[in-house]
């Protein structure tokens, strides 16, 4: 039976790269996203690449009232899922957030609150299903607050911690929860940033995410060397850290 994959935030470059890997092995794929035309374009791409079935559903992550019905529809359509990827998010304008409570809270709502709300709904179903893996995309920004991206980082810290607890809870139910921490990835979200040798392409990160969903455990840094980089960054004493430019 083909694998059933659910992707939330399906028009993100990383999410689509993951969906392509599943498509190549004939998976059935359910895409949830905000922009209809972009979702349709991705669905067509996945069909050409070998997906045995692709369905799409529209959802703006801030539309909390529709979270439950969206998940219910998806579950009913494919009679459950073997793999789930939660990938939606925005990179807020940190300079604007610095002086705007509204923008800071908005970004937090998309990057943290909406993710947690969806995770609660998905977890309940996976727990009943007693099978499957769910990966959620967090960020190294969540490992330590830095001046350049703490509005984003605080939300990702919430996601990381929530996912950690969820993993603990679902462990006994045969469900794996994976926290994905991609380093710098060259996507439309990061187009404005100058690229160094530390940057990766979405297919590279997607390979790690699929491996994690297949048989991985816990927190997955991708590429793997980011685990070391962030371990070092976390170790820097606060007094020293506040004087760095990171």
């Amino acid at each position: 039976m083909p694998t059933r994959l659910l992707v939330i935030g399906a028009t993100s470059a990383i999410a689509h790269a993951v969906a392509r890997r599943y498509a190549a092995s004939g998976a059935r794929i359910y895409l949830v996203g905000r922009r209809a035309a972009a979702l349709d374009a991705n669905a067509a791409d996945l069909k050409v690449r070998g997906a045995s079935e692709v369905a799409t559903a529209l959802l703006d992550a801030r539309d909390f009232d529709r979270h439950e019905s969206t998940i219910n529809d998806a579950w009913a359509a494919f009679d459950g899922f073997d793999a789930i990827l939660v990938a939606h998010g925005v990179l807020p304008d940190e300079a604007a957030c610095a002086n705007s409570a509204e923008q800071t809270v908005d970004a937090f709502e998309i990057n943290a609150t909406s993710v947690i709300s969806l995770l609660v709904l998905l977890a309940a179903r996976l727990e009943r299903q007693r099978h499957g893996a769910i990966a959620v995309i967090s960020s190294p920004a969540g490992d330590r607050g830095r001046a350049s991206n703490y509005a984003y980082g605080a939300a990702k810290a919430a996601v990381t911690t929530f996912a950690s607890g969820l993993r603990h809870r679902l462990q006994a139910h045969g469900v794996r929860v994976l926290t994905i921490i991609p380093g710098f990835v060259d996507t439309p979200m990061t187009a404005a940033i100058s690229k160094s040798a530390l940057w990766s392409q979405p297919p590279r990160v997607a390979r790690d995410i699929q491996a994690a969903l297949d048989s991985g455990f816990g927190v997955i840094y991708t590429p793997g060397y980011w685990r070391l980089i962030m371990a070092i960054i976390r170790c820097i004493p606060e007094r020293l850290f506040v004087r760095t430019k990171l």
Partner: protein, 433 residues
């Protein structure tokens, strides 16, 4: 702003990179971009056709989706940022292949159209553009044009080979060709003079689909030109090929590994190997078509200063004398590198106003970027112009405007189709804007 260079890496210049994430929002992206802008695919053009120094580049690799593929007809619709490699990997297991493929599969579909690239089988399938069923052009003036050879043919002719200057090529429908499998039966034939090359070319191009010759530019200036002629055909063999791993040259070398000594050594070894093994060999299509793709970023071999590729074509009537003159000039200069390639083009009506191929012989070779190399190009230009030939825009980084105007008589006709919001370093050099 981000530093971007073309494949030749002779210049590193800042550009404003504009993401192009999906085709549904194209009109807004194209109209909203600060002008002049230019589509940038995977950066495999050698010269300045893909650069727009200090201005905007549309990052076309974001448009890398397939739209539709009919495995019974071989028609493939895809976005322009799809790599040729991705097309082949999708189509080959279904028994389809690109009718025309350049020497790298890491170019995008849009780039292959904009440069109307050719392969080693011009006499069978022509150029890449001849096998494009339809394309979509999105312009900064708000026009959104679907065109084909028989639908708005003037737009199609201007865009194929139009160097990305007629609008953003957003998507295309490609007509693929049937093949039995991923294998090529190839054969090599050593030759010791240009006359022998032309004899081999005349006889083999009737029997074999793919023909290309490698020549040793390090030979003496007396006219003795040794080389190896490779011919190939798709093998009747459906066994799947194994996946290959890429190797990458991770750093910029401070100096060029390509110098007089290394070129001589490489060429002698290469000649010795292929003149011995002249029987037919069955090769993986990647080994036959894309020998250098396996070493990603091989352009770094030329060191920090980068390199140029010079490619020209000279017409059939004078091909022998003109090619001889070009090779003599190169041998005298002692600047040539190990990648010197000779191919012949057949007499086919060009599909684009600025398509490069014409009936005759094309010579392509790489030169490390060293003082005096551009002077040699002007010397070569003079021979090409005298012969009534032309230089290839996809490779060029230095030809003067007059050379370009002499090369392409339909340039005046082309200008009317330019997108006023699009320009490149090349267009400023060759058109003045």
């Amino acid at each position: 702003m981000r530093v971007v260079s073309s494949w030749g890496r002779t210049r590193r210049v800042l550009h404003d990179i504009v993401p192009v994430p999906d085709r549904s929002s194209l009109a807004e992206v194209v109209r909203g971009t600060p002008q002049p802008a230019l589509a940038f695919g995977n950066g495999r053009s050698y010269g300045d056709v893909c650069l727009n120094s200090g201005h905007s580049l549309w990052a076309m690799r974001g448009l890398d989706r397939f739209i539709d593929f009919d495995a019974s007809t071989g028609l493939l619709a895809c976005e322009a940022g799809v790599l040729l490699k991705e097309v082949v990997e999708l189509a080959l297991p279904h028994g389809w292949f690109l009718p025309v493929t350049p020497g790298t599969q890491l170019a995008t579909v849009g780039g292959a159209i904009a440069n109307d690239v050719h392969g080693k089988n011009h006499h069978r399938h022509g150029t890449f553009g001849e096998n494009v069923e339809q394309l979509r052009l999105v312009r900064t003036d708000g026009m959104d044009i679907e065109c084909a050879r028989d639908v708005r043919p003037e737009w199609f002719a201007a865009t194929v080979g139009g160097m990305g200057l007629t609008g953003m090529i957003a998507s295309a429908i490609l007509r693929l060709r049937r093949v039995p499998g991923p294998w090529i039966d190839s054969q090599s034939h050593a030759f010791a003079s240009l006359a022998e090359f032309f004899e081999l070319s005349a006889s083999l191009s009737r029997s074999a689909e793919y023909n290309v010759a490698w020549i040793d530019c390090a030979t003496d200036a007396n006219g003795a030109t040794r080389g190896i002629f490779f011919s190939g055909d798709h093998a009747e063999d459906g066994t799947p090929a194994s996946p290959r791993a890429d190797r990458r040259l991770p750093i910029d070398l401070p100096f060029s590994l390509v110098n007089g000594w290394s070129v001589k050594a490489f060429n002698s070894a290469y000649f010795a190997r292929h003149s011995r093994a002249s029987g037919p060999t069955r090769e993986d299509y990647r080994a036959f078509f894309y020998p250098l793709d396996n070493l990603l970023e091989w352009n770094r071999l030329y060191g920090k200063a980068g390199f140029y590729q010079y490619q020209c074509v000279v017409p059939r009537e004078v091909e022998s004398d003109a090619t001889q003159a070009l090779l003599r000039a190169i041998a005298r200069s002692r600047q040539g590198s190990f990648l010197a390639v000779l191919k012949t083009f057949d007499d086919r009506a060009p599909v684009g106003l600025l398509s490069f191929p014409c009936a005759g012989t094309t010579l392509a070779l790489d030169f490390p970027n060293r003082p005096g190399v551009v002077d040699l190009f002007r010397e070569l230009d003079a021979i090409v112009a005298e012969a009534g030939g032309r230089v290839y825009a996809a490779k060029d980084a230095s030809a003067p405007r007059q050379m370009f105007e002499r090369s392409f008589p339909k340039l005046g006709e082309f200008v009317a189709y330019r997108d006023p919001g699009i320009a490149s370093d090349m267009s400023r050099r060759l058109f003045g804007h």
